[in-house]
């Protein structure tokens, strides 16, 4: 029997995680606290609609359209809204541009804050203890684990997302892409290049 008060009531649930979630889902739906159809709608959003292809559109537009880049610099949330991108965990967006002098990389050491409307759900590595612990102290060693070595002379600026500001890295436009349209450019922009742990692809 449960005690009158638990400091951590979650310990009353089954210890197997799949059974824990199932039990909680059963309780919440039976009590009328959660609409099962809402669960499907949430998953449809993040499994099919919202992902790094949206951030890639922003980067491709920034590479192609100097006026858009200007808007992105002055108010990134307003600029991405013109592309129909907005929402939860992307209410206050700041775009940070890589240059030959500075490479930007984003982390959330305290939890796992991430620009969901631009990149979707974060990958497991972004939420891992290893990334959260190490990205701020040894970003270059972490970059090496992603196969990225920065040129001499490029400093690293790591953005620890400790508030509701969400950072989108604008990687440098790869050489040899002068003739490409926005769709072809967007195809070169990887998720990791917009977090700063990767570099965009090069045209084949």
């Amino acid at each position: 029997m449960p005690h009158d008060h638990h400091e951590h009531p979650h310990s009353l649930l089954p210890s197997d995680p799949a059974l824990r979630v199932k039990a909680l889902e059963t309780i919440l739906t039976r009590k009328g606290l959660v609409d099962p159809a809402a669960l499907d709608a949430i998953l449809d959003t993040y499994e099919r609609k919202v992902g790094p292809h949206l951030g890639a559109q922003v980067v491709a537009r920034a590479w192609s359209d100097p006026a858009f880049l200007g808007e992105l610099r002055s108010d990134a949330s307003a600029a991405i809204a013109t592309l129909g991108i907005s929402g939860r965990q992307g209410e206050h967006v700041v775009a940070v541009e890589n240059t030959p002098e500075v490479h930007n990389m984003v982390v959330c050491t305290l939890c796992s804050c991430y620009p969901w409307p631009l990149l979707g759900i974060p990958p497991a590595w972004y939420k891992s203890d290893a990334y959260r612990a190490r990205a701020v102290r040894e970003p270059r060693k972490v970059l090496a684990e992603f196969g990225v070595t920065l040129p001499e002379g490029q400093k690293v600026r790591v953005w620890d997302s400790t508030a509701e500001v969400r950072y989108l890295v604008i990687p440098m436009r790869p050489a040899g892409t002068e003739g490409l349209g926005e769709a072809d450019l967007a195809a070169l922009v990887t998720r990791d290049s917009m977090i700063g742990t990767g570099l965009p692809g090069v045209p084949s």
Partner: protein
């Protein structure tokens, strides 16, 4: 002063393991359910994002270390639901509940897309910023919630007591140290502050590397 989530700079965690690009697939079915349940229950409006972060931080250090990401979410969600009186410990222990009519605040399927696309902005009208870009500031030492002992704060310990320079001013934002504890939003000016990596860590991987953090005005004093 710290809790186990405050791990920036910690040694011993091993390599970071990259994954394929694109939309991240869920590893397990229960991960899908954990995410959907957490967002749907959040849609009841019974707590704010700072409360839910604090609930995860309040897991015991042992649980925080052994739980995977979505296990932390589910455990904190169960704790919050009980704390807010929405579920009972008896129901949790039974793994079921008596059927009840929908809660008046239930997050309906048709509300999902508009709510996720709208988000919840955290900028507020608030007092004018004391600091401006280029100002040198020193962070609070030790990192702590000055309103609630052991409470939620967004100043990581690795950056406590250090001097940095303001690089961005964001206007006033909801203050998590108050908002997580039902003390109101108490908006304060929010800044991005850049710190020299060599100052934070004793030595940098390369001279000139920097770490920036988003910090509220009451975490800072003029240096």
């Amino acid at each position: 002063m710290t809790r186990p989530h405050d791990m920036g700079g910690r040694y011993g965690d091993g390599p970071v393991l990259p994954e394929p690009q694109g939309i991240v697939p869920f590893d397990r079915d229960w991960h899908r359910s954990a995410l959907a349940l957490t967002l749907a229950a959040g849609g009841l409006g019974a707590w704010n994002i700072d409360t839910s972060r604090h609930a995860r931080e309040c897991l015991s250090p042992k649980d925080y270390a052994r739980f995977s990401y979505y296990e932390k979410w589910i455990a904190a969600l169960a704790d919050l639901l009980v704390a807010k009186g929405l579920l009972s410990e008896t129901e949790l222990a039974a793994g079921t509940a008596d059927p009840a009519p929908p809660h008046p605040g239930i997050f309906r399927a048709e509300a999902v897309a508009p709510a996720l696309a709208k988000g919840s902005p955290y900028a507020r009208d608030g007092r004018a910023a004391v600091f401006t870009i280029g100002d040198r500031v020193r962070t609070r030492l030790p990192a702590r919630n000055a309103l609630v002992d052991g409470g939620h704060t967004r100043l990581p310990s690795y950056a406590a007591g250090h001097v940095g320079a303001i690089v961005l001013c964001h206007g006033a934002h909801v203050f998590p140290d108050a908002n997580a504890h039902g003390l109101g939003e108490r908006p304060e000016p929010l800044y991005t502050v850049a710190f020299d990596a060599a100052a934070l860590w004793g030595k940098a991987e390369r001279a000139g590397d920097e770490v920036t953090l988003d910090l509220w005005e009451s975490y800072l004093e003029r240096a």
